[in-house]
Amino acid sequence: MNALTIAGLTAGYGAIQVLQGVSLAIAGGTIVTIVGANGAGKTTLLKTVAGVLHPWRGTITLNGEEIGGHPSYRVARRGLALVPEGRGIFGDQTVRENLLLGALARREGRDPESVGADLERCLGLFPALRDRLDGLAGGLSGGQQQMLAVARGLMARPRVLLLDEPSLGLSPLFVRQIFDAIGRLRAEGLTILLVEQMAAQALALADRAYVMERGRIVLEGTSAEVRENPMVLHAYLGRTEDAKEAR
């Protein structure tokens, strides 16, 4: 059974439809990436899956349970964590407090020992946070905030982790660190859906890939296959000569 299955998902904002019937499947313990230009609907897709947006049509199944249409706080407690675009950290609270808030959604309960152990694990993954545990989250640099956001998502011990453009606004150094961390998480068996604009790096990391354009999936396959495909360049930079001929 796939960890996450989406079928025929349609959603949007107000009267504007963004997702035009998206379907995809993610097998447990793999990294799937969705690439595409801005405006393609990637963030809308993640938000709908996480319960921030209400789906118009279609189903979302998490480990066999239907979660489409449930509000985000319920979806979070079923084991799906979203690290949103823009990070969504609570700037007026400390790093530690942010991480502890992340632990709220744990399904295993919150006894202090095991939460403490999780905290340690996260700090192991992102050592830069250790020195700043008691500092205000708002004072961290962008890259550190992104790390905090990912760590916070992990504190909930999710079964599926959604990442919305974690590289946004980060220097190459931080991007590399984050992507390394993501790779290590897969090794531990976590299922990850990674949405990225930085296609090359995402494709290097992922197992499978989907390309979105204007609210639809236009290409899918293993990440190697997708990387070779000229359509990827097209999705970002418009018609190239090859694509024109291919039509």
């Binding site: 949007g12 904002y13 107000g14 009267a15 504007i16 439809q17 963004v18 230009a37 801005n38 405006g39 319960g51 921030v52 947006l53 209400h54 118009w56 449930h70 509000p71 985000s72 675009e85 823009g86 990070r87 969504g88 640099s141 962008g142 890259g143 905030q145 453009e165 590289s167 946004l168 606004g169 980060l170 220097s171 190459p172 150094l173 931080f174 991007v175 990225e196 604009q197 930085m198 296609a199 090359a200 790096q201 995402a202 494709l203 290097a204 204007r214 990827v232 360049l233 970002y236 930079l237 418009g238 018609r239 190239t240």
Partner: protein, 617 residues
């Protein structure tokens, strides 16, 4: 239909003294008349401009006391006293507005409540002038029949004045500011100024009613002018239908007559008011008038799939399952500029970076940006951006998510002020000037989410653009003066021809929020062009459009260029559109210009490819 009803009511009212000599009925009808006058004015503020006031009893009181004092203490004739009362009330209104309108929402409500209470307090304390708690009595009272006719006439006049206002450029400006103050500013209107005028007008109306009340009653005391009265005014308006001309009348009738019928239930009066208020907010957002005669948009149904109503649409869009607090209408740049960004410098500008004037063969330069930088909370959204825009042609600004494109557009149109650097329009420095000033200098724009004025018709939307800040005198607009009407006709004709050129003529009379999403964008563009700008800034015009619509947009932009339209700068993600229409592309990344040149050059530029796809593995 509503107009027929109104006319009918007035005829019936006029006939009343002939049918019955019973002074009670006349008195009640007079009260309805007075309330109508107040609410007609309040409608201008609340219904047309979207501001809440819970302090209008204060202006009512000022009017009443002005009339009372001048007639009793100074022996002035009511024919002088009442107009004087109007002037005093309006003057105070202008002052209060100047101060109060610096805040909005609950804060504004608070200020108006505070104002009302202060007035009440002054009435009680300033015994020398106001007679203190005892009030003023022996105010000359014309015989009830005569007073009745006068009040009736003034009430009818109020509604006519407001209807005139609605039809004029001022009326459209008010509704524009209500609908989207950001868009209104981009068309040259100063929202602050427009709101002050609306407030002043409404204060004047309340003053008039107050003055008449003094002479109707012969006696005034601070009791009648408390917060409850202000609530009643607002309630009558909301229940009757704010924004509709007939609303004040219907609301006033119901809210004056109903309690009279239910005198047995006087004790329950407040419950009645409270419940009516809640009912009207929840079920009758357009009031009684709206229920009886819905706006044309609703009758014919809303186009588009799953239309959920434009009010609050953006708010709903952000977070559906969760409640988004404070739905702010800030379409300018919200998506991109969230959170802080990494301190890392990319330093990839070893590739082409233009220096000096562009050799694009277009001659003069219209707009020059030099070294503009803008940071939010320590993070650079724009870093040392320089570019030049020629007098004509189409250029694009592209870049990955968060590159600063919309920030740049906002800086060019005055919504953001750059921290350093300069922006010159034909040599005039404009950096940091307010949006409406820059609009008046010939810069026009559209927004990421199309900001059409929903309550105005499609034609009226464009008319706002045509008129811009040239609204004429508000008094002339109220009076429906012939020259105002003529000017208005001219504006409408021009708007219609612009709509025609834009292919929207058939929608002219429909409310703008009945337009399907793709056409709203087009309306926005037509409206922006109506100001005859020299520079048109388009913020992601292709967002949400179908491929067919994008092709139409392509053609439209090219047609604009060939027919001598303004210089166009386009911020866009849809590369098809960008590549097809632009002559020149500037690429931003992390707030810096990393490439600039023809579409082909840019597309092949390795720095650009890397910006979008990331470093090759």
């Amino acid at each position: 239909m509503a107009r027929v009803l109104c006319a009918g009511l007035f005829v019936a009212a006029a006939a009343l003294p002939l049918l019955t000599g019973n002074t009670y009925y006349l008195y009640v009808a007079s009260s309805v008349g007075l309330l109508t006058i107040v609410t007609a004015g309040l409608n201008v503020l609340v219904g047309f401009t979207g501001q809440i006031s819970l302090g209008h009893a204060g202006f009512y009181a000022i009017g009443a006391y002005a009339a009372g004092v001048t007639s009793v203490r100074l022996g002035l004739s009511p024919w002088l006293g009442v107009p004087l009362a109007i002037l005093v009330a309006a003057a105070v209104g202008a002052v209060v507005a100047g101060a109060a309108l610096r805040v909005t929402g609950p804060y504004l409500a608070m200020v108006t409540i505070a104002f009302g209470i202060i007035v009440e307090g002054i009435l009680v304390e300033w015994v020398a002038v106001t007679g203190g708690p005892g009030g003023i009595f022996n105010i000359p009272k014309p015989p009830l029949g005569q007073a009745y006719w006068i009040i009736l006439a003034v009430a009818a006049l109020s509604l006519i004045l407001v209807a005139n206002l609605r039809r004029s450029a001022w009326g459209r400006a008010l509704l524009a500011v209500k609908g989207s103050d950001v868009a209104a500013e981009s068309l040259g209107l100063s929202a602050y100024y427009v709101r002050i005028v609306a407030f002043t007008v409404s204060a004047g109306f309340a003053g008039a009613a107050g003055g008449l009340f003094a002479h109707l009653n012969g006696y005034i005391s601070p009791d009648s002018f408390g917060l409850q009265a202000s609530i009643l005014f607002l309630l009558a308006l909301l229940f009757g239908g704010e924004g509709r001309v007939a609303g004040p009348l219907l609301g006033s009738v119901v809210l004056t007559v109903l309690p009279e019928f239910l005198t047995a239930l006087t004790d329950y009066r407040l419950i009645l008011y409270g419940s009516l208020l809640m009912v009207s907010i929840y079920w009758l957002p357009q009031g009684l008038v709206g229920a009886l005669a819905p706006r044309r948009g609703e009758e014919t149904g809303r186009g588009g799939a799953g239309e959920r109503g434009s009010r609050g649409e953006e708010a709903q869009g952000r977070a559906c399952a969760e409640r988004q607090v404070e739905p702010q209408r800030d379409p300018a740049g919200r998506r991109e500029e969230q959170g802080s960004r990494g301190a890392g410098e990319r330093g990839r500008d070893e590739a082409q970076r233009p220096r000096g004037p562009e050799a694009q063969g277009t001659g003069e330069t219209l707009l020059t940006v030099e070294g503009a930088s803008l940071a939010f909370g320590g993070v650079a959204a724009l870093a040392d951006v320089s570019l030049e825009i020629p007098v004509s042609g189409i250029r694009a600004v592209i870049g990955p998510n968060g590159a600063g494109k919309t920030t740049l557009l906002n800086a060019l149109s005055g919504f953001y002020a750059p921290d350093t650097g300069s922006i010159r329009l034909n040599g005039t420095p404009v950096a940091g000037r307010p949006p409406y000033t820059i609009a008046r200098l010939g810069v026009s724009r559209t927004f990421q989410t199309a900001q059409v004025f929903g309550e105005l018709t499609v034609l009226e939307n464009v008319a706002v653009g045509v008129a811009g800040p040239r609204l004429g005198s508000v008094l002339a607009a109220l009076a429906g003066a012939p020259w105002t009407r003529r000017a208005d006709e001219a504006i409408r004709r021009q708007a219609l021809s612009l709509l025609d050129a834009g292919g929207l003529a058939e929608w002219a009379a429909r409310p703008a929020d009945a337009l399907p999403a793709g056409l709203r964008r087009r309306l926005e563009i037509v409206r922006a062009l109506a100001t005859a700008p020299r520079l048109l800034l388009l913020d992601e015009p292709a967002a949400g459009l179908s491929p067919a619509e994008i092709a139409e947009l392509d053609a439209y932009l090219i047609r604009l260029k060939t027919t001598g339209g303004p210089s166009v700068v386009l911020v866009e993600h849809h590369m098809d559109l960008v590549m097809a229409v632009s002559e020149h592309i500037t690429v931003l990344d992390y707030g810096r210009v990393i490439a600039s040149g023809t579409p082909d050059a840019v597309r092949a530029n390795p720095a650009v490819i890397e910006a979008y796809l990331g470093a090759a593995a």
